[in-house]
């Protein structure tokens, strides 16, 4: 099992999501074991709400290639990732909500066995959105195992 990093970035929007990670054509479960959320914009007091929501379609965005953390893992990830979404995918349940000030940065690390799991169904996965946001640069790093 390889661990892959996905770096997502965009100018925050209340209607367009930061990005998603979904199962590809040869779907495997992807286990989110760590993610970081924050803004690299000039420090200012702005409220943000980050959500992680299940999605059942790709939506439209800029493709991001998951990069293996270990260079020895030469097999490409089966998952597909998109950032800077322009068309939102169909979404399901919210599994994580995080109110966060723009000045703050948040990091979550899972114990083995307690990861967030994207199902092994093509185009199903998890999308990171900002229903409350100010139009400044935001980014996220997600490490997932599959």
């Amino acid at each position: 099992m390889a661990v892959y990093a996905v770096l997502l970035a965009r100018t925050a929007s209340t209607t367009a999501s930061l990005g998603n990670i979904i199962a590809g054509a040869s779907p495997r479960r992807n286990f989110w074991q760590e993610f970081v959320l924050g803004s690299e914009a000039t420090a200012a007091d702005n409220p943000f709400l980050y959500t992680l929501t299940r999605c059942t379609a790709t939506g439209t965005g800029s493709a991001v290639t998951p990069v293996a953390i270990d260079p020895g893992d030469t097999v490409a990830s089966n998952a597909a990732a998109n950032q800077n979404m322009t068309i939102e995918p169909a979404v399901g349940n919210i599994i994580f909500r995080l109110p966060l000030n723009q000045r703050a940065t948040f990091r979550w690390v899972a114990q083995p066995g307690s990861e967030l799991v994207g199902p092994a169904t093509q185009n199903n996965g998890i999308i990171i959105s900002t229903p409350t946001a100010t139009a400044v640069a935001i980014s996220s790093t997600v490490l997932f195992r599959e």
Partner: protein, 107 residues
């Protein structure tokens, strides 16, 4: 540094904020065994509300809303249903799947 801990955490969350005492806040989290949501555990010494509960049927730590539902719907069974994995014909199933099948409930 503030730290809320759990005996068997499902992970930990770290918030870095210049306005916090010490500049950061750490808390253990649980990952709900029913809906896969991540919930920070409360600092009970400071009077915080417990993050959720435990399921007597599948034995998982679960979040508050799933505790309120009062039914066992294991996340593993939801995954299998979503993926369309047939239970029949498999040589082994997880306890969560077995439990859902025994109860005759859709996950």
């Amino acid at each position: 540094m503030y730290r809320a801990t759990a005996r068997r955490p499902g992970g930990f969350a770290q918030l870095v904020d210049p306005d916090l005492p010490g500049g950061h806040l750490d808390a253990d989290t649980i990952t709900c065994g029913h809906c896969n949501a991540v919930v920070a555990v409360a600092d009970r010494i400071a009077g915080g509300i417990p993050a959720g509960g435990g399921c007597y049927q599948c034995g998982a730590a679960i979040c508050g809303p799933c505790t309120d539902l009062g039914v066992c719907s294991p996340f593993e069974a939801w995954l299998d249903a979503t993926e369309g994995t047939p239970l029949k014909g498999r040589w082994a199933v997880s306890f969560a799947e077995w439990n859902a099948k025994r109860l005759g409930r859709s996950p």
